[in-house]
Amino acid sequence: MAKRSIVPFGPQHPVLPEPVHLDLVLEDETVVGAVPSIGYIHRGLEKLVEKRDFKQYVYIAERVCGICSCGHGLGYCESVEQVMGIEVPDRAKFLRVIWMEMSRVHSHLLWLGLLADAMGFESLFMESWRLREKILDMFDETTGGRIIHSVNCVGGVQKDMDSTMLNGILEAVKDLEKEMRPVADTFLEDYTVQSRLKGVGVLSRERAIELGAVGPMLRASGEEYDARLLGYAAYPNLTVEPVTSKDGDSYARCEVRIKELFQSFDLIREAIGKIPEGDISVPVKGNPSGEFFMRIEQPRGEAVYYVKGSGKKFLERFRLRTPTTSNIPPMVETLKGCQLADVPLLILTIDPCVSCTER
């Protein structure tokens, strides 16, 4: 048997913008085990719910993570609204979907860029991030912020979009879709990319379900599950089909995310076509009393929100389980048996969001 050695990976590592630490157990070049240790970005945001009133806490919930900030705001607001029995106006529901899908596009483009960077494909990284700027510009125009938007509030949304903005989004989506095709072809058909991704880090459907994988990680293994089908916001009025792939390897995960990009373009167009006129928020009276458990589909997978209030201005408990938390055990599984050189790539294929995970 080859001699075993342990190689530390992280916390400061060029491939990830965020700190995460792994101890890799190696036999020669092959990884036989991986021990993740997290906690570098733990801030204690859930506890802060006792110091901020439930309307202010939306701003904290959005700052759980800068990439999925729109989704966290949405998840928190929806769960508080369920506790208080607030019916949100239809226009607000559609606006939420439009912003949520735009944030999915920006998140997936960001991930594609980081994947290309991890493979050393620098020009593809630059191209993906160049395309992402178009979506950020639209965020800037419609919400006033590039990364943190603060559009969701308890009872609806804070900002309305007029027809110029909606047409601007349609234009941007049209441009983006046209420019995305060649990039998608490079990711899916380029020989170099395929040789790095195909057959690397295979996760079978059974193991994916057993280990509790969520989001694109689960769908790449062939399981049709998408939390958008649960019907929050305006999703019941739109056509959502889970995008799946069979192989369960890194290539399948990349394929699922690229197809979801095009699905999001369609959803944005459909939502803009169907958006009704009307109010964007309802006044909120009283304080939340009771508890609710809410699931939404973030770009990285299913996120779970739990809120508990006892009729006071401050909530008693807010709990958040993020998609990356559930995807860490499947990641450790895919790392076993891989080559050391593939480790950064495999960590990236779960689309880790460490800030979300550690809160």
Partner: protein, 152 residues
């Protein structure tokens, strides 16, 4: 500033931010903002970095990592705190695991506010850091350090 006197290399570390400022730091490298045109390169290696960009407040676990990275960088070095959390702790200031801004652990030269800091202001902060780097370089030379020497 009239000219850039050298090609400074950046090191980026996320002390405990929400990711927002980190992706904006990366954004500065990509075609729209492209700070590489000033000869600025993002490196992953503290031993070759001149400017340290730090995002987020400091918590108990990252404290030692921040100190270690800072000590590994060669003299002269400049620290830029990016985002309001890195400056003061920001919205997370009252969290039980946050100690406050980066300046509670290592000396900071430039503060870039914003939540999330926009790429324009990050670039502005880096350009200010370049001036400070020049001053530190001159002082370092005067004190007998080599032009590019690493302090032992």
């Amino acid at each position: 500033m009239n000219k850039v006197s050298k090609s400074p290399w950046l090191l980026h570390y996320d002390a405990s931010s929400c990711n927002g400022c980190d992706i904006e730091v990366l954004d500065c490298l990509t075609p729209k903002y492209d700070i590489e045109r000033f000869g600025i390169i993002n490196t992953g290696d503290p031993f070759q970095a001149d400017i340290l960009l730090i995002t987020g407040g400091v918590n108990s676990q990252t404290e030692s990592v921040v100190k270690q990275i800072y000590s590994q960088m060669p003299e002269p070095k400049v620290v830029v705190a990016v985002g309001i959390c890195a400056c003061t702790g920001g919205v997370f200031k009252e969290c039980y695991n946050i100690r406050g801004g980066i300046d509670t652990v290592i000396p900071v030269d430039v503060y870039v506010p914003g939540c999330a800091a926009r790429p324009e202001s990050i670039i502005d902060g880096v350009v200010k850091a370049l001036e400070i780097l020049d001053e530190k370089q001159a002082e370092h030379k005067k004190n007998g350090g080599g032009a590019h020497g690493i302090s032992k």
